[in-house]
Symmetry: C2
Subunit: 546 residues, 2 copies
């Protein structure tokens, strides 16, 4: 199966005549058929070589529910499985897939030109806890608020279908399916269209480094995983071992789909350091090449932003210079240095940061570690940047991870003074980098953002509980680890919009609005030339002049 830049091919799609065309990669199957529920049909797919199975049929209609029946090559009973490239799991991961026409939506954003990388002011949000309804429609109702705040792009935490209704999103098991409890795929399309109508760009967080634990049946189909590498979340996805071509295509198709069929403006690729790929062309580089081709066809710019725990310029260097060509990367080290300046204890990964002089370094060099010894990592770490402009880096004073990875999920507003919150925001918005705000930060939300799941397997639930407790065994001698599975943990992590009108919170919101407006108006603040930033740090006074 060759990738077609112009349309989605993997999974079940409808062509211009409404005929269903199905492509499935299942090299471990001796036979494959598709089963529909309503019409009680069973249609055989044809073996097209290289592990691909194919069928074109007019017997499947939009909204039909279907599963694949795969007879294992190794013998044994046939398995009934949802489509790994399903677009919609109306009943969740364990239910059938729903035949969805990704091209049916009536877009009205033909004039949308996108937001230039340099102009990004990003607002990270989690669909389930951003509003009390916890779905895409409810986000739409807040767009005017966001415009007024001054942000130019929302960044939506992962929406790939996960088990249950409560999850940060990094346990997704259907990378192409939009979470049913958020409203499903058409609802996401509606939200993006509405954003564009109001001049907002949409960044989507996607996970290409692992697949969630519950409802993960990939290994019944083919070699999606490899034993060559380990990741903190289990087996690594197979990007360079036998059978990897189809896996690579699967994720390239995924990236193309969000841009082309959901009009997403940028992807935020989760933890790309955990994508292990020794191929001559790294998978990120291939995604970039395909994205560029799509951009040529559509005339729209698309951006690839990576979360990267390595100070390694090769990810963001251009492809002509043998880089992977990513447009920007998150700089956690700016955050860590900033937090230590503002009172964070030097424990865990914060132990590597000493305060204002490190923050001063980050203002100029983006990376704090550029080759020197890191005690936390127990090795020399990082490299100096050769050339990348400030627009290649996303900075923040908090984000979902930095808040939610604390045992109690406390936001900065519960950890530092009101005035210090302003300093932290100022530090971000005066930087020569692209600023990111985590939902609620702008009004000093005091509700926590805790770690929550809603699995159904009791063993898994217990393992997650234990893992979460174990993570904090060394720190946080006070308090109890919130139960990740409890609905209350999810509920207490929701934003409380009523606070906007309250004193203090109202002041902070006004402060953010003013700060963002100032950055936009003042050429000095919006200048992303990091190398001409001048800093002077006074460690004894914990003071930094910019």
């Amino acid at each position: 199966m060759e990738i077609d830049i112009r349309k989605r091919k993997i999974g079940l799609n409808f062509n211009e005549y409404g005929v269903a065309e199905i492509w499935l990669w299942a090299p471990l199957a001796a036979q494959v058929s598709i089963l529909t529920e309503a019409r009680e049909l069973t249609l055989s797919l044809f073996d097209e070589g290289y592990g691909y199975w194919h069928l074109q049929t007019d017997q499947i209609s939009k909204h039909d529910k279907y599963r694949f029946k795969i007879t294992p090559l190794t013998g044994g009973e046939p398995l009934e499985r949802a489509d790994p490239a399903s677009l919609f799991q109306k009943e969740g991961p364990s239910g059938p897939s729903t035949a969805f026409d990704v091209n049916a939506f009536s877009w009205t954003d033909a004039d949308w030109k996108g937001v230039a990388l340099n102009d990004l002011v990003i607002y990270e949000l989690h669909t389930g806890t951003f509003t009390s309804n916890g779905d895409f429609d409810a986000i739409e109702a807040k767009l005017d608020y966001l415009i007024e705040l001054g942000i130019t792009a929302i960044e939506i935490m992962p929406v790939a279908q996960f088990s249950g209704s409560r999850n940060w999103g990094y346990d997704g098991v259907f990378p192409f399916a939009v979470q049913n409890t958020y409203g499903g795929p058409s609802s996401l399309q509606h939200l993006v269209n509405a954003c564009h109508a109001k001049g907002l760009a949409v960044i989507l967080d996607v996970v290409y480094n692992h697949v969630g634990p519950e409802g993960n049946y990939f290994s019944d189909f083919g070699e999606y995983f490899t034993d060559k590498y380990h990741t903190p979340w289990g087996k690594a996805i197979n990007f360079d071992d036998a059978g990897c071509d189809a896996v690579r295509s699967f994720f390239i198709e995924n990236a193309l789909m969000w841009f082309r069929d959901f009009h997403i403006d940028a992807l935020r690729l989760d933890a790309v350091h955990a994508i292990k790929d020794f191929s001559p062309a790294h998978i990120l580089s291939e995604i970039k090449a395909h994205t560029d081709k799509l951009s040529e066809i559509s005339g729209r710019p698309y951006q690839l932003i990576v979360e990267l725990d390595l100070n390694d310029e090769r990810y963001i260097r251009s492809q002509s210079e043998y880089g992977y060509g990513m447009d920007a990367q998150w700089v956690d080290e700016f955050h860590h240095a900033l937090r230590v300046c503002t009172g964070q204890a030097r424990e865990g990964y914060y132990s590597d940061f000493n305060g204002v002089s490190d923050l001063a370094k980050s203002y100029k060099d983006a990376y704090v570690y550029t080759g020197q010894y890191s005690p936390h990592r127990q090795r020399n770490f990082g490299m100096p940047l050769q050339q990348s402009s400030g627009a290649k880096f996303i900075v923040f004073s908090q984000n979902h991870d930095q808040v939610g990875n604390r045992m109690l999920g406390e936001r900065s507003s519960n950890l530092v003074s009101f005035e210090m919150l302003k300093v932290m925001a100022g530090a971000v918005f005066c930087s020569p980098f692209l600023p990111l705000v985590f939902m609620g930060e702008e009004w000093a939300e005091t509700n926590p953002f805790q770690f929550f799941v809603s699995h159904s397997d009791e063993e898994l639930i217990e393992a997650v509980r234990k893992g979460r407790k174990g993570e904090f065994a060394a720190f946080h001698t006070y308090g109890e680890t919130p139960d990740p599975q409890a609905e209350a943990t999810f509920e207490r992590s929701k934003l409380n919009w009523a606070k906007i009108g309250e004193p203090g919170h109202k002041t902070m919101l006004h402060y953010y609005q003013t700060l963002i407006a100032l950055r936009k108006q003042n050429p000095v603040l919006a200048n992303l030339d990091r190398e001409n930033v001048q800093t002077e740090s006074f460690p004894e006074k914990n003071c930094l002049l910019l």
Copy 2:
């Protein structure tokens, strides 16, 4: 411990005043002392931070035998261990280390300028089986023969200390110690000096991707290995995980030592695709940078040649273009294509090669697989080369692996006709690449080169036997797998020099001499401009015009 380009620092070394200076990396030790046998001394080493222990003492003399006594951080009995950076294990891996002064040798090769990469005609030999004596001295006695043959460099299979007296060399457990049964370090220095006196360069095969199974006590000292990656030979060496700096330094020191203290001209780095390193600066790139610095100081050129099972130009691209800067790589694909042309059955990795048209491709492109689907690897494989000249590639019609990895270790002389042997040699020597001959090939030696070991642990011996049998379960339905542990397997793998005078063998030797001389004299044959090679292939006639 900082690396000093000018002298070896790791391990036990003698300074200009004859005082012993000891550096040991043992982060897993609570205490370290050095024990000498003869003088019954115990001296404590000082903790210098970052896991390093150090001592300067005049109480240890050249040729003293010593061990380290390390008290584990985790408690438990102190361990007595030989020096991981030992230069000489006179009694083998289980014995003490011998204090050796690597600078004591009286070199007479001050005028030696090295052999330019373009002029390399390489002769690969295994010290133990090249001669009946099986040591360095016996190689020296054959140098005039090699000069007469026309070769310009000998390539010595690994000499790092392994267990027992019979081994290909890839089971080395003391990367700095020269095999005792070959004559030890001073004998190797003597050989190199003699080679240089006669105008021969010396290439040494070194293994930086794994450590052998018997006598491997590295894990008692520090995190030499990582669980992040798997290699076919067990745990990967830790080049990018916590604690990796010292491991990186250890191997950089190793490379520098061979060049600086043994006057080796080039290293052949074994199976570098199994070196897993996601650091911003790949360990190969760091070795290159250090080697270049040494070259500046010594005024001699040094070459780094890699065995690489990936068609990936980044290894041989210059560092200014973000490559690893290796000088040349082995091209197994040229060999595979050539062998299929000359009658090799298309089984195992040969199944990917179709004969003359693949060989024709390799003549121009070096790599046969430049991105197309490889059935054997089950993925699209390789990339087209952008720029590398033919001098970046080493080709051969056989080598130790291609002979010895056959169940019976048959050389080509046992597999194809006499005339075909000439064609194979012609194919190599007419190529725009650097030719390599495997010892004995030049007189059509008929003795096999089989896989042999001489371990002492019965379980390990049995495991190697089983592994070897299992490897050939699918092929080779005739014959018995030779017992790798049997001395007879080693003995029958030795060259039979008496054949040189016999008809047939004598003719072949003369043919090789003439062919090599022709290549040296004729500018067309020595032209390494691969892109201007013109080929025409006639698959139906199994014929290739060059």
